[in-house]
Amino acid sequence: MTKRMRITTAVTTLALLLVAGAGSASGSATVHHPLYMPDVQHVGSPALQPPPICCIPNPGVATGLPAPGNMAYFGGHVQVAPKIYLVFWGWGEPGAFDHSTPGMPSYDPDGAAARMTAFVRALGGTTWAGVQTQYYMTNANGTNTYIGNPPNQLGGVWYDNTTPIHDNLSGLELAQEADRARAHFGVTDLANSQFIIAQPQKYNEAGFNSGAGYCAWHDYTLPSTYPGVTPGISFTNMPYVLNMGSSCGQNSVNSGYYTGRLDGFTIVLGHEIEETVTDPGAEDVVNGTYYGGWYDLQGWENGDKCAWVGYTGGATSPSSVPGGLGTMTGNDGKSYPVQSLWSNNSAAGTGYCAGAGTNLPVTG
């Protein structure tokens, strides 16, 4: 047994012990809220912390630094063959944007939808998405199935201009839209599917609009939390992050006004997508059943642990910091700004943020 394997096993064992303890302690209680990606100013905000796993106080984490400690497996499924469905809800509906750009479609004047679509189409098979392949789910027979990194992970794109949208959407409305997308695409393999509900400039989710301090969140539908919605849907609330400017990533990798204008879309979307791959059940706990996949003992998922690492407000390049914001070279040969993802295998099994071209010298 290698040192790395011993550490992983020890952490997993501890996690399972905590799971068992939490399960009995929580009884029939439901532990739930969406898993937020805080913006740059709210990385340590208590209101945006993940739900407690058990009994370890969450110490928070400083902006610009990784959250230390390896992730553990909590027993839920992971997306071993991810399929990502992009839903651009209401982008073509009246009032969705307050501006136009010559040469750009009226339903996407900033090119954000095109950028997100290209990003998802290009992420399959990349080194960045490959960080995920070290994580697995344990089957009923005790065997492990590892996450794959297939070249094509884009399940489909849907511009839904039929269902009326409005501003200050609720989480339930987003879940309902994800359910409509499930029907639209005819998805039956929910375990490996995730739905990105991307919102246009003028119609966004209420919490995002209110300045709660997050850029996006992902969640999982259960009858107790999203009544009336098909259970088992993994979905992401993806607001128009450009509305929050540099707080949600604008110019955080590329400095030019236009060159870096859309940085936040791929950074935030990538964060949510890969968290959903490793934790599609979004840490939900119902009646002692853990739906969550991989996260650390503070409840941080692989994206949370590396969010905004290296960010200094433009004073220095985040790419100069190990594990910092960087770029993913897509399978189309183009570069996309991304954050790194937590890798238990990095730093000889101690774990570190990896995959964004900013790895530590020692990687696993």
Partner: protein
């Protein structure tokens, strides 16, 4: 009264020309073959030759002058921006404020201001001529002394991506007692953007160096940038579509001095409609159509 009605459009045109704005002339297109109502034999004509005329505006060298404007001072949206029109700015006297630093040291404040263009778009750049302008630094405290560097980066939006149009760096020596420093600049655009159509323009200004006390970039017409441009785009094309007015799968026509030509497989027996449109830069002509009949 009648005289005024006649003169008003001329005055507007003259003002536009004076301001250096591109006076867009919408491209046009016609279909000369097949003619409306023409019969085409499928057996004799398996491939249908189609043709027409197209007219485009001739690009002429011009200039586009932008003023640095600011809507407010300390509001939630001060909105520094470029505009082809000038006026009194509510945010004048505000904006970039120099921090107090020691003489003789180089301090990187990391403070820059973006001025994205709010109008006058799109633009077609002429990189054979220089970009010129003035950044007017005003309100400099009289005790200021030292070398100030004004870095300018002009970025364009081309096909949805940012491209560097050009950069410049100008130094100015601040001396005690002087409060006004109009900083002139002149630099050539990158050759890579020559004759390219830009959907957006942003001027980033970064002021740094060893100086003391405060100042601001003056607005209300005092700071401006003039871009060498063309009055029309060099990107000219004609698209053809058979039985589909939405041009979902357009066929590119070949342009020649006398018009345009294209060829399509002759469609099935019945009545069909051919659609054509011409495109110059971001301008699209009205759609021309010709309904014809295919016989055996």
């Amino acid at each position: 009264m009648r005289k005024r009605v006649v003169c008003a459009p001329l005055a507007v045109l003259a003002m536009a020309l004076l301001a250096g704005m591109a006076v867009a002339s919408t491209p046009s297109v016609t279909i000369t073959s097949p003619k409306v109502g023409q019969s085409v034999s499928l057996r004799k004509t398996p491939v249908l030759g189609i043709a027409g005329t197209a007219a485009f505006a001739t690009p002429a060298a011009t200039n586009t002058k932008y003023y640095l404007r600011r809507d407010g001072c300390g509001t939630s949206n001060d909105n520094p921006h470029l505009s082809v029109t000038s006026g009194t700015d509510a945010g004048d006297g505000c904006g970039l404020t120099f921090a107090i630093v020691g003489v003789g040291s180089e301090v990187d404040h990391g403070a820059y201001v973006d001025y994205p263009a709010s109008d006058g778009l799109p633009l077609t750049i002429d990189s054979s001529r220089n970009i010129t302008g003035v950044i007017d630094l005003e309100g400099i405290q009289s005790a200021s002394a030292g070398l100030v560097t004004v870095d300018l980066t002009l970025e364009g939006l081309e096909n949805g991506s940012g491209v560097t149009v050009g950069t410049d760096s100008v130094q100015v020596l601040m001396v005690p007692g002087q409060t006004s420093y109009p900083v002139s600049f002149s630099f050539q655009p990158n050759g890579s953007v020559d004759k390219n159509d830009l959907a957006g323009i942003d001027l980033r200004i970064y002021i740094h160096g060893p100086y003391i006390n405060s100042g601001f970039i003056a607005n209300s017409g005092a700071s401006w940038i003039t871009l060498p441009t063309w009055s029309a785009s060099f990107a000219q094309s004609v698209q053809v579509s058979l039985d589909d007015p939405s041009f979902a799968n357009p066929i590119a026509a070949t342009l020649d001095p006398s018009g345009w030509t294209a060829a399509v497989r002759t469609p099935a027996i019945g009545t069909h409609t051919l659609y054509a449109r011409s495109i110059q830069g971001f301008d699209v002509s009205s759609v021309a159509s010709s309904t014809f009949k295919v016989t055996r």
